[in-house]
């Protein structure tokens, strides 16, 4: 066996750094002295970006595996429950009297359409006038009513309606740091990396720091964000831009206080389409994180701030807005030799479907699962990892673009430009062509690690009112009675849940006080 890999150095803190380090240390059992050891070095002063404050339901499994108590986590990270995203005004230009919206709920990940795909039946009119999301998912009713996805008596990490969290990313990395250094055997060094040293074969050998000397390791994880000290700085792996597909290049963010202690907290992310982009609205416990993601080619910074403040409402008066440049794209390769980039050093797309933290979890999981024990094994994992993540990022870009390119809005050049065929990836174009006459099926998703599954596409496609005519094949869908019953059931369960579930804010307050039981 060639040189063994015994030491891992994670460069950079934040969500990416601490999630990667924790997941790796847990999998490799770094607590044990014979196991692979994990060290994390982070700058004591570089501020963390703080975007990506929505998560996916996979975070629950991740936290549970790391041995974290759900109540503690929520309390210390200002977290609340997220049950999906609501897309407002993406299909039609809003007027003073007209606005539309649709949900992409998190219950989508249950693949229920693999057992019985209700989409064709909805298309053929079996649910009457009810929009697709309301017809197939009780979770939409729950979100509309501002209810929580579980009760105080529900076990930790268990769900009545599938959920994830909205969280304060800064507090989250601090929380992880505390937990992982204490329980998972991770060594924590606070210092700035000044130089990266390569050996004669082009592998990273060590990094120099300002206050902690030279740190050597056998394997390196680059979580240094857009600075990409290792993967770009030292290993020169270039960045591929996607600004020809997704136009947004700037974000303007602010923290808006609630009117008072009882103001309801939204249990879903609200993404509202604007004239040159979209605003996010994420309800944490003590404030709302609000921001405008926009294209500087289609509007000015001043106008953007106006739009944001108008959206955020009176409580935003006097609150400062922070401008963040967005460089959308991804590395040509994420893993090179003995270094893998995870987080913004690897890729970044706009947070329309909150994929950033999810892809950090996915990257860390795959790295941990496939962790090569010797230099010989690196090549195989590098190829596989790069192929997998390239696919995942491409598919994420496709899915985000889908929200834009089938809009019926033509009120500004931004929306018209977004529908231009040259800006649409060919794989997506082909699928859309096919879906004009056939509803999406599981055969459109041949990759086992699809970031967005069939059900997710259905919610967006039909939420965006994509015109599809399947009448030629209506005899292939004869289970009308069954479908009608399922639609009725969704309504019925929705009504039941309204009586069972507490309001979102009520549950959050209770959890902060009492936590959830592990049994």
């Amino acid at each position: 066996m060639s040189k063994l890999i015994n030491q891992v150095l994670v460069v950079g803190g934040g969500t990416a750094g601490w999630l990667s380090a924790s997941i790796l240390a847990k999998q490799l059992n770094s607590q044990s002295p014979n196991a692979v050891q994990v060290t994390l070095v982070e700058s004591p002063n570089i501020p963390i970006v703080g975007v990506g404050e929505g998560t996916w339901p996979t975070i629950r499994t991740t936290l549970e595996n790391l041995g974290i108590d759900e109540g503690d986590f929520m309390r210390e990270c200002d977290a609340t429950f997220k049950q999906g995203s609501q897309f407002v005004n993406w299909v039609e230009t809003p007027t003073k009297t007209h606005s539309e919206s649709y949900y992409h709920p998190l219950s989508a990940v249950f693949h229920s359409s693999y057992d019985f795909n209700l989409a064709p039946y909805w298309l053929l009119g079996n649910a009457g006038e009810t929009p697709y999301d309301q017809a197939v998912a009780t979770q939409c009713h729950v979100c509309d009513a501002g209810l929580a996805p579980k009760k105080i008596t529900t076990r930790a990490y268990d769900a009545i309606q599938n959920y994830s969290y909205h969280l304060n990313a800064n507090k989250f990395s601090g929380f992880l740091a505390k937990h992982s250094t204490k329980h998972l055997g991770i060594k924590h060094i606070k210092a700035n990396v000044t130089r990266v040293n390569l050996d004669d074969e082009g592998y990273i050998e060590s990094v120099e720091t300002d206050t902690s000397g030279t740190l050597s390791a056998d394997f390196f994880v680059d979580c240094s964000g857009s600075r990409a000290l290792l993967i770009n700085g030292a290993l020169n792996i270039p960045w591929l831009k996607i600004d020809d597909i997704l136009f947004n290049d700037t974000a303007l963010a602010m923290q808006v206080p609630y009117e008072n202690e009882d103001t309801p907290i939204a249990t879903h992310t609200i993404a509202t389409a604007q004239e040159a982009g979209w605003t996010w609205d994420i309800g944490l416990h003590n404030r709302r994180g609000v921001g405008y993601v926009y294209s500087s080619k289609h509007t000015t910074d001043e106008r953007a701030e106006e739009v944001l403040r108008e959206y955020a409402g009176p409580m935003s008066k006097g609150v400062q807005a922070r401008k963040i440049p967005l460089n959308l794209g991804y590395r040509e390769k994420f893993w090179h030799r003995n270094c893998v980039a995870i987080g913004m050093s690897a890729a970044f797309i706009e947070p329309l479907e909150a994929s950033a933290i999810f892809l950090v979890e996915a990257g860390a999981n795959m790295m941990a699962d496939q962790f090569p024990r010797s230099r010989d094994s690196l090549q195989y994992v590098e190829e596989k990892y790069n192929k997998t993540f390239r696919l995942r990022w491409d598919k994420s870009v496709d899915f985000v673009k889908l929200h834009y390119c089938i809009t019926q809005r033509t009120d500004t050049a931004y929306w018209i430009d977004n529908c231009h065929p040259d800006s649409i990836p060919s794989a997506l174009k082909n699928r859309l062509a096919h879906w004009k006459t056939h509803p999406p099926t599981k055969y459109d998703f041949d990759y086992a690690y699809e970031p967005f599954v069939l059900d997710s596409y259905l919610f967006v496609l039909y939420g965006m009112k994509y015109n599809a005519d399947i009448s030629h094949n209506s005899s292939s869908f004869p289970r009308n009675e069954e479908a009608k019953m399922k639609f009725e059931n969704v309504e019925h369960v929705g009504k039941m849940l309204e009586k069972e579930l507490p309001s979102h804010r009520d549950l959050v307050e209770k959890v902060y006080k009492y936590g959830f039981s592990k049994i």
Binding site: F371, Y447, A448, Y449, N473, S476, P478
Partner: protein, 519 residues
């Protein structure tokens, strides 16, 4: 032309491929309603069907239920029996001094390795020391050794205590399917020989000419004409890509063996026994055994091969007729071209080592019925999707089969030839190289069309005595108590099954008398 809706599908060729496809399509389209897509099958009254592929996969249960054939009727009319595994005898090494070796490739593990993989704990000797891998994770090996069935008369149809598939008489199966198609599913049957295939100006098939009926036109054609590949190969000129440089067997000699008496036990596993220049199959139906020897004519003569088969069968073989079949091992460059899709032997053929033929027919028919294009305009998109999917499936099937040979330590020339690296696909070499010190993980199976799941690879790898050294990652497998608990559960279930399950023949007799209930 391209806007005309597809209304009529013509299948050329009967047998398992033709009739399973017809049943699947007609059921999906609701063909007995004359306003839906219609299905016609043209079958030669003279050409005998090949009759290989008498083992199936558990997917067959779903298929039968979907097309509306009851399990009881199927078992009775097709002389079928239950299949729970393939038993590989003497594959690991040449038997010496009367001792033989064997291992099982089973259908059921008690614990899904995706949830908890017992393999590393077994490998590191923490559970199941001195026991085979199969017996450490499953009770099905024991069930097969005892000749017990995978269910009882109290289980409803298609439901099992253990996962199972069938052994069946392909000729009788085709007949059952034909009757069902014609009587219940609205398929039109034309007994005739196809004499010409007629193309239109764009190179699409417009009709076929026959010796008894008028030209039969259609919008879409399925080529189930076997090795002759009248449509895809002959008329459309899609070449055949031989893999005789990878899989070295090229002929099969077969003999049907009656049971010595009415109460002879019926094996509920396919028995595959390695021989000097190939391997013999032994498939137990309810009324006879089908046996055959798959061999390489470069490493033995036809006479010697027949003798090897007779020796395997023993004295019962006296007076029984043998039949030799030449096998064209390989696959078409593409399976779908323009408005023609080849299913069955016209598409591809590999030796039946893992009974993949009928499974791939089911998969083809499923995909076609779900994706049947509305008209020609989007056909090429589906063509590409289907070709990519099936090329992948065939390549993986070939890899998996080759793996059985490559890992063998047998010494005869045929077996040595199989270890020559020039006969081994690179994908297999790479995978095995990785697995020599890393566990097989779900990341190795990232395409949803993987024909063989993770656990199948583990059964074969460990059964063939593949050496996997996990010592360096030992500390990562720290959940020894969970492993021991799960292992004990497997052992305790193994104790109980003996009392719960009937023997195969008894159950098959009861089914003939009473059938399985539908609920």
């Amino acid at each position: 032309m391209s806007k005309e809706t597809i209304k009529h599908v013509v299948i050329v060729g009967g047998g398992t491929a033709g009739w399973l496809t017809a049943a699947n399509l007609a059921k999906k389209f609701n063909s007995h309603d004359k306003s839906s897509i219609q299905v016609t099958l043209i079958e030669s009254p003279d050409i005998p069907t090949v009759g290989v592929g008498e083992g199936t996969w558990p997917t067959m249960r779903k298929t039968l239920a979907k097309i509306g054939i009851s399990e009881s009727e199927f078992l009775t009319k097709c002389n079928a029996s239950f299949k729970q595994a393939t038993k590989f005898v003497n594959w690991k090494e040449t038997p010496k001094n009367e001792t033989s070796n064997h291992y099982y490739h089973l259908f059921t593990s008690i614990f899904d390795p995706a949830d908890f993989n017992l393999a590393p704990y077994w490998n590191l000797g923490k559970v199941g020391q001195g026991q085979t891998y199969a017996d450490s994770v499953s009770v099905q090996g024991k069930i097969c050794e005892l000749g017990l069935a995978p269910k009882t008369i109290l289980n409803k149809e298609f439901e099992g205590v253990q996962n199972y598939a069938y052994h069946l008489d392909a000729g009788l199966f085709a007949k059952l399917l034909k009757d069902h198609c014609v009587e219940k599913l609205g398929v039109v049957h034309i007994p005739a020989n196809v004499t010409e295939v007629n193309l239109d100006e764009e190179g699409y098939i417009s009709s076929v000419s026959t010796d008894v009926a008028d030209d039969i036109s259609g919008d879409f054609f399925v080529d189930c004409s076997g090795f002759r590949s009248l449509l895809l190969g002959d008329a459309l000129g899609i070449p055949f890509h031989s893999i005789s440089d990878t899989l070295l067997t090229d002929h099969a000699v077969t003999i049907q063996v009656p049971y010595s008496d009415e109460s002879s036990p019926i094996a509920s596993t396919t028995i595959s026994t390695a021989q000097v220049a190939g391997w013999t199959w032994d498939i137990a139906l309810s009324n006879r055994r089908g046996t055959g020897y798959v061999y390489s004519s470069k490493h033995t003569t036809h006479e010697a091969a027949e003798q090897t088969l007779r020796d395997y069968i023993g004295s019962q073989a006296e007076g029984l007729e043998a039949r030799v079949i030449k096998m064209n091992v390989g696959y078409r460059d593409k399976f779908w071209h323009k408005n023609c899709f080849a299913i069955g032997l016209s598409a591809a053929f590999v030796e039946p080592l893992e009974a993949s033929a009928i499974f791939l027919i089911e998969a083809s028919a499923n995909m076609l019925s779900e994706l049947m294009p509305k008209n020609r305009s989007t056909m090429h998109l589906i063509e590409e999707k289907v070709n990519t999917s099936f090329k992948f499936r065939w390549e993986k099937t070939i890899d998996f089969i080759k793996m059985h040979y490559f890992l063998s330590k047998r010494e005869e020339p045929f077996w040595q030839a199989n270890k020559d690296l020039s006969t081994v696909p690179k994908t297999l070499i790479d995978s095995l190289d990785r697995w020599k010190d890393q566990l097989v993980t779900s990341y190795d199976f990232d395409n949803v069309y993987e024909p063989f799941p993770l656990e199948s690879y583990q059964y074969v790898l460990y059964g063939m005595g593949f050496e996997q050294d996990l010592r360096y990652s030992e500390s990562a497998y720290s959940m020894t108590d969970v492993a021991q608990r799960n292992y004990s559960q497997v052992q305790s279930i193994a104790q109980q099954v003996e009392k719960q399950l009937p023997n195969n023949r008894d159950l098959l007799n009861k089914v003939k008398q009473h059938g399985f209930q539908k609920i």
